[in-house]
C-alpha cells in the first residue's frame, strides 16, 4: 500500500497547475495509490546488483559540435503564440496582486 494521501494529491495538482475539486481528491488518491502499488511489485525482486537505469540505450558521450545551425525567424517562432507584442511572447501577469 503506497499511502498517497489527499494532501499529496492536492500538492501535486498544485505543482502541475491542475485544478482538482476537493471532493475528488480521494478518488485520485486511490487511483494513484493503485498505480504506485502496481509498479512497486518490482521491489519484490532482488535488484541489488542491477545498476539504476534512466535510458534504454547503453551509450554515453553523444555530443554535438559547437557550430551554429538554423534558427527559426521571429515570425515562425511566434506563429503559435496565443498573444504577441513587440516580437515577444505576451504572457499573463506572473504574480497575483498582493
Amino acid at each position: 500500500m503506497s499511502g498517497i494521501s489527499q494532501d499529496d494529491v492536492a500538492h501535486l495538482a498544485h505543482l502541475a497547475r491542475i485544478s482538482i475539486p476537493a471532493d475528488q481528491l480521494g478518488h485520485y488518491a486511490d487511483q494513484l495509490g493503485a498505480i504506485l502499488d502496481a509498479v512497486a511489485q518490482v521491489s519484490s525482486l532482488d535488484t541489488s546488483d542491477v545498476p539504476a537505469m534512466s535510458h534504454p540505450v547503453p551509450m554515453t558521450n553523444v555530443f554535438r559540435e559547437d557550430i551554429p545551425g538554423v534558427s527559426l525567424t521571429a515570425a515562425q517562432a511566434l506563429s503559435g503564440a496565443p498573444a504577441v507584442e513587440d516580437e515577444r511572447f505576451r504572457v499573463p501577469r506572473i504574480l497575483d496582486e498582493e
Binding site: L15, F63, R64, P68, S71, T73, F89, R90, V91
Partner: protein, 504 residues
Amino acid sequence: MAEAIMNYDEAISKFDPVLGLEVHVELGTNTKMFCGCSTVFGAPPNTHVCPVCLGLPGALPTLNKIGVESAIRIGLALNCEIAQWCRFARKNYFYPDMPKNFQTSQYDEPIAFEGYLDVEIDTDEGRKTFRVPIERAHMEEDTGKNSHVGGATGRIHGADYSLVDYNRAGIPLIEIVTKPITGTGKYAPEVAKAYVAALRDILRGLGVSDVKMEQGSLRCDVNLSLRETPESKLGIRSETKNVNSLRSVERAVRYEVTRHAARLTAGDSVVQETRHWHEDTGISTSGRPKSDAEDYRYFPEPDLLPIAPSREWVEELRATIPENPAVRRARLVADWGLSELDMNTVINSGALDLIVEAVDAGVDAAAARKWWTGELSRIANDRGIELEELPVTPVHLKRLEELITAGSLNDKLARQALEGVIAGEGDIDAIVAARGLAVVSDDGPLLAAIDEALAADPAVAETIKSGKLAAAGSVVGAVMKATRGQADAARVRELLFEKLGVSE
C-alpha cells in the same frame, strides 16, 4: 521597507558568520547547450530560437561538446574531482522564462565536485590565505528574459502582463556552489569578494566566458547565516540574489550580517527566504520563501545520454588549464622582484600578459614593465585604445633595449623609435636609420653646445663651482634641447664637470 540592522562590529562581536556563494557563469560557446541556436548577445527578440529551446513537442536536445569540455575545465581549475559518469536532470517548474516547463540541469550527479579555491585578503595581521571549499560545479541552461509591462515600476510586482524573449533560453550555464565557508570571522565580506574576483580571473584565464558581471554573464547569489559561536550549529540562512558586482558582493554580505544580527538579538528568527539585492540603496528586500527542493521533482533527463568522461579526455583537458592567476601573480612578484604595489600597478594597467610575453622573448623584466606601464600605457590611453591594440611586439622592445644598453639610443630617442613603430614605419633598425636617431657620442658637438649653454646663463657656472651640482641640470637640459635629444645626458654631465673643474 528597510529592516532594522545592527552595527557591523557589534554584530561580529556577538555572532560567527557562515557564508555560501553560488555563482552562475554563462559560457562563451558559439551555440546553446542543447541546440545549435546562436548565443550572440543583442540579437532582435526571438530570432535565436528553435523547436528545442522553445520546448515545442517532439523536439530533442543535442549536447554541446564545448559546453561539457568547459565544465570539466572549470572543475579542474577549481581542484575538483570529475565525475566518472553523470547525467542531466529535469528541474520542473512553471514560469514563463522556461517554455519547456523544466530547466535541464544536473541534480545529484554534478560533473565536478569536491574542490577548493584559495583566496588571499589583507587582514590586520597582513596577507592571509583562506581556503574556500567547493561543493560542486554543474551544467545547466539559462532562462529567457521577461520584461514586465504596466504597473508603476516596470517590476514584476503590479505588472499587468509580461513579454518574453527566448534568445537567452538554453545558453550554457555552469553553476559553481561552495560548501559553507566558516572561519572567516569579521573578514566574511572580504573573503566573499576575493572569492568571486579569483573565480572571475580563473574563468577569464580559461577563456570559457567573458565574465562580465555588469552584463550578467557572471552572476552571484550570497547565502549567509549567523551562529552564536563557531561551535554552534548552523543558523538559518538567507539567499540574496542579483548581487552583480564585486563591490555588491562585499556589501551584501556585510548588510546581511547586520540584518541577521538585529533580528536574532531582538529574539526574532531569520526567515529562510530569497532576497533581492538593491545596488542603489545597498539593502536587500524579501523575495519569495524558499521552496523545498522536492517541489522541483527532479528526475533524470530521458532525452540526453549520460556523460562518462574518459580519464584520458580529462587529462587532455587538464593540460589546457593555465596556471592559477593568484599563483602566477605570486611567482611573478618573486621572479621580477616587485612589491605588491608594483604588481597592482601592472595588473591594473592591463599589461601583465604583454610584459610576460616580452620577458619570455628575452626582454629584461624591469624594462618591459617600464615600457608597458609607462610610455605605452600613456599612448594607448591618449588614443583611447587597449594596450593589446598597439602594434608593439616583444621583438621591438628587445631590439630597443639592446640599442639602449649599447649606448646608441637614450630614453628619449627610444620613445621616438616607439612612436615610429606605432606609426607603422617598420622595425626598430629601419626607424632608427630613417629618422636618424642616434646618441651624439662625439664630444666636439657636445662641448660646443655646453659652451653655448654656459654663455646663455653666465651665473650658472659659478653656482656649480660653488658646489651646487644640482644646477648642472639646467645646462644638461639646454644641451639636450640643442641636440634635439640626441645627446647622452650622462656624458654631457661628465664633460660639463670636467670643464668647470668640479668632481661629483
